[in-house]
Subunit: 124 residues, 2 copies
């Protein structure tokens, strides 16, 4: 059984390669994909495979950071969707057999910096 | 030297307790706090202490998930700001002495679910 970090790196590599057999093999039968920002749940391996296979646009993903320990892992990924960079952050829970049982994913969007902290901040 | 997960749990506990001595002791002198959504950087321990001490509103933080390995860690935190729940996701890099050298933080906001995937999704 590979470690949690290796599992989530394999998950993203399979996504990018559209290698859905490998992707599906990393997921628990009853995997739950949770998107807290939209309050959406996608439940089960088949629905998750279909969601990813059908996801529209010319999207690509590379992993900026991955960290895993035991049955938990997190990644910060750099997606591009039709050429636009979009970061995502994802928290994974693995089951006892090392399959991904829960995926909680966030898609943070740009916003204007709050006023009043300019004295402490450099912009880039 | 404590592990990365323990360090970031101590970071959030010190934040919530407004224990700025402990908080400052967890940070490298040249710590960099990076907010990619607003493209803001806050550099150095003193500026980071001031930023957190002065942060407006009645804010509280609890850790939903933490994972650490070696010099890397990630957390998913549940903030409330004046009673409004606000999640954050944070990636930490520690230096060789176990202090926090880089903090990259995301503040994902709610958005409307994209159309066309209703057949795969349950809302909550």
């Amino acid at each position: 059984m590979r470690g949690a970090e290796a599992t989530v790196l394999a998950y993203w590599a399979a996504c990018e390669a559209r290698d859905w057999d490998t992707f599906g093999g990393l997921l628990a039968d009853d995997v739950v994909y949770d998107l807290p920002q939209t309050r959406e749940l996608i439940q089960g391996r088949a629905a998750n495979l279909q969601f990813n296979r059908e996801y529209p646009g010319d999207w690509h993903v590379t992993v900026t950071r991955a960290v895993g320990d035991g049955r938990r892992a997190a990644t910060w990924t750099a997606f591009t969707v039709d050429g636009t960079p979009v970061p995502a952050t994802t928290f994974f829970d693995l089951d006892g057999s090392g399959r991904i049982a829960r995926i909680t994913e966030f898609w943070p969007e740009p916003y204007d910096p709050p006023v009043g902290r300019e004295h402490l901040v450099q912009r880039y």
